[in-house]
Symmetry: C2
Subunit: 504 residues, 2 copies
């Protein structure tokens, strides 16, 4: 690269650092303070500050000189650029081109619509009233149909949503994989229903002291390698993680004193995500690449730590006695019964309460519905009928009301069309990574059951975390596992796990 | 005001709101997070963010259109403007003209010098080494001499420092008042030394549980009228208050488990300041006037709540039994002995440990020294000798080393020349206000001793807090008490208090 280009690149990076300062501070730190510490009357001024800073961020992104510099490198022969620069340029473009392609008036209308729709949804859910949300959801669907046209797609409109979320797949691939997965799970559920194994999960009801839950959370985070000098954990209403740089990653967890499971799963779900954020290379600041490779990969890591690692026999071989120290009431329950209870398969109407296996069916139902909405094959008013039919067909149960049915999730009303598939794709990515870890770390199982977890974190760091978003998910999975994304690993994983648990 | 002017004014206010957003967020919220919650490795990125936002704030302040609009109103006949606009314009000018008058190269040099000088001071204090700080302090003094020339003054250079801090006084006035105060206190100390009353303050040594201190702090704050829906209190190394708007005022307090007094005094000192911040009218946002009328008035309110109110007999008539609930070890100590112990006069070398009476001598010594430095009557290398002589003369004691002498405070090394007098001036303002409260609320004493403190907070709110910095301190004290600042009220207050305590 010649000196003039070096200077141009330097300018881009300096500008991006400013974008990063505002982004991390406004989206994460000020938001974190708002949900953890802010006194309630502070909301008015805080909202003004956050909206002002969002405007400043927008100005930086639209800065003419910056846009020109990006275009300059974008027009260059990639052969002349290093991988980090190539990734940076495509990230800058990818990050903002979606929003920029929407006419600004329509985008503003859409933002207002969403804000209102969330309110209406919340009320309708309480009142079991689908009618009221129909006009809002119809408008949202219309917007998304427009968006897919603005954004462009290869084969069908829904493809544009996979691109938007950087999921590294298209509708055709997902249809095939989900079809196979659905068929497999429905069949496995039939087998499980004939198993003689009966699992009692009433052991999770009772009183679980918040203090003990908090101590366990910190203990788990320490053990998986979370660096408390570069992060913290606090209680808040909605579990999430909020990084303010890789050296200040904040986990928000919530405790339920009537059930110890949420604290445990959040510690590993949020903990996995936090390890990802802490593991991103510091060298990537100033390139916009100092974040995970799209939501689907962040979800994959979360699901690896929560399910594959955290709900495994090996994990509890090591951790059960420690956990019993925090919750002595489990001392009368055998490790085996505990492990089985934690993985009990059940037919539930609520996605959030579903077990690791049936969870996928909940997602597939939503995916099929939203795809048909976007692809013009279904009208909003028919959602509840289709929803209920699918629940009956795949899970054998039918919602008695919309709150337990089509109104249970806020996603569509918040504009998260195309988001649901990420939850399953995260499982697929996670299982494929898992199969590779077991090959590369042959004593993986023993390491887990002996509490030596550093090697696992190190492996993830070196193979995945450190790269931030230099690679797209489809590139990263290939780099890590030498293959494109496949559904097989997840099916194999489920098969081995549930056949063991249900002794089939 | 005509329509064109109305529009111009509107523009100024919109611009100021942005200045306020950045100022409150960067100087207070991000700083608060840094000292309470930030994981330690987060410091690097946080420093970058804070320095970036400080730069953005500077840009807003120097914005050409804004400066032009301010100049436009500044050139207008004040008769045409309302008081809020007049105050706003002079506040904008006053806030930044001091820094702007310093050549920017010199200001940068000075900032670097200060940062280094603080480090050197800290080391020198530990090593009892005054020599090492001399070259640094000499340069700082040189800078301040220059500053006073840039800023201008009426009679002598030190006057410029009183203007800088908006203290509402000049050197001549302060010399006269401090002279009278010093004479009075030295004489009173002689009388006290002949009093037969012997006060034992060993009752404050012991173990005072942090939890109980925290509970007492919250209780006191609630009782004085601090609104916990518009603020909070947290533990941190250095007590301070950090407002992020009048609806989100954060107190930082520190606890000493070997002495319950710091928690108590911080609750009232910081609590008083916090009441001030919470009491400022919301209408003043967008005018830069939504802050206290200079540091000296904030100090006055703090000292009123901490000393005049909090160390009074009436306060403890009401609060002693409640405090004993938090600290049962005091149950064997009579209220009278406790009150006397809390107000014991002692000859100490350390300003921070001084009682309410001798504290003023500590300040006068610093004031006399720094005034002579700035007015070219003393060289830096001679400070320790002069320091020790003055301590001997006024307090009858002499520091055995520089840590207990001229190196004890960081102020000069942080560039806080001209700040010390504010501590006494705060006392004078507070005592003058106190005399007015007693006239306007004739049952003040009974209200305090019966725990009915709302009326006091309301009085302060209506007379002082609500006005933010519409008025300069000298205007505000006149508005509240119908007189200019006088030393007499403070002397009367001290006289009555200490003659009662020492039974003279």
């Amino acid at each position: 690269m010649n000196i003039s280009d070096e200077k141009k690149l330097q300018k881009i990076k300096e500008h991006i650092r400013k974008i990063e300062y505002l982004k991390f501070t406004n989206n994460n730190l000020l938001y974190w303070d708002k949900v953890t510490n802010m006194p309630k009357k502070g909301i008015g001024f805080r909202s003004e500050v956050m909206s002002f800073l969002a405007g400043e961020l927008h100005k930086l992104i639209e800065d003419k000189e910056f846009v020109k510099l990006v275009a300059y490198f974008d027009s260059k022969d990639p052969q002349e650029l290093d991988i980090q620069t190539i990734s940076m340029i495509r990230k800058i473009k990818g990050n903002y081109e979606y929003i920029n392609k929407i006419p600004s008036k329509e985008y503003r209308d859409y933002i207002y619509l969403i804000a209102e729709a969330e309110q209406v949804w919340s009320k309708s859910k309480r009142n079991d009233d689908f009618e009221s949300v129909v006009p809002y959801l119809e408008k949202i669907v219309e917007h998304f149909k427009n968006f897919t046209e603005y954004w462009g797609y290869e084969e069908e409109p829904y493809d544009a949503l996979f691109s938007f979320y950087g999921a590294g797949v298209n509708t055709k691939m997902v249809d095939e994989m989900f079809q196979e997965l659905k068929g497999y799970i429905v069949k496995l559920l039939e087998d499980i229903s004939t198993s003689k194994v009966r699992i009692n999960d009433e052991i999770f009801s009772g009183y679980f002291n918040k203090d003990a839950q908090s101590k366990m959370t910190i203990d788990i985070l320490n053990r998986i390698g979370f660096d408390f000098d570069a992060g913290r954990v606090d209680e808040g209403e909605h579990p999430t993680i909020l990084p303010n740089s890789n050296k200040d990653v904040r986990i928000i967890t919530s405790y339920n004193e009537e059930d110890f499971r949420p604290a445990f799963t959040t510690a590993l779900h949020g903990g996995g995500q936090a390890l990802y954020e802490q593991g991103i290379s510091s060298d990537l600041y100033g390139t916009l690449l100092a974040e995970p490779s799209s939501v689907v990969f962040l979800e994959a890591i979360a699901r690896f730590y929560e399910n594959i690692f955290g709900r495994s026999k090996e994990f509890w071989d090591f951790y059960y006695p420690i956990m019993q120290g925090y919750f002595p009431s489990f001392k009368t329950i055998s490790k085996k019964n505990f492990y089985k209870a934690l993985n009990k398969v059940d037919y539930s109407l609520i996605r959030m309460d579903a077990d690791e296996l049936t969870y996928n069916l909940h997602i597939i139902i939503r995916y099929e519905i939203e795809k048909d909405l976007i692809n013009n094959k279904l009208s909003v008013k028919d959602i509840p009928d289709v929803w209920n039919e699918k629940y009956k067909e795949y899970l054998g149960i039918e919602p008695p009301n919309h709150g337990l049915g089509a109104l249970q999730d806020v996603h569509w009303f918040s504009g998260y069309f195309g988001y649901f598939p990420n939850y399953i794709l995260g499982n697929l990515y996670a299982a494929q990574i898992y199969s590779m870890i077991k090959r590369e770390i042959p004593d993986y199982g023993e390491l887990v059951s002996s509490g030596n977890w550093d090697k696992i974190n190190d492996w993830f760091k070196e193979k995945i975390f450190i790269h931030g978003s230099i690679y797209y998910p489809e590139e990263l999975i290939y780099l890590v596992t030498d293959e494109n994304l496949k559904v097989d690993y997840f099916i194999d994983y489920l098969d081995e796990k549930y056949r063991y648990i249900y002794e089939m």
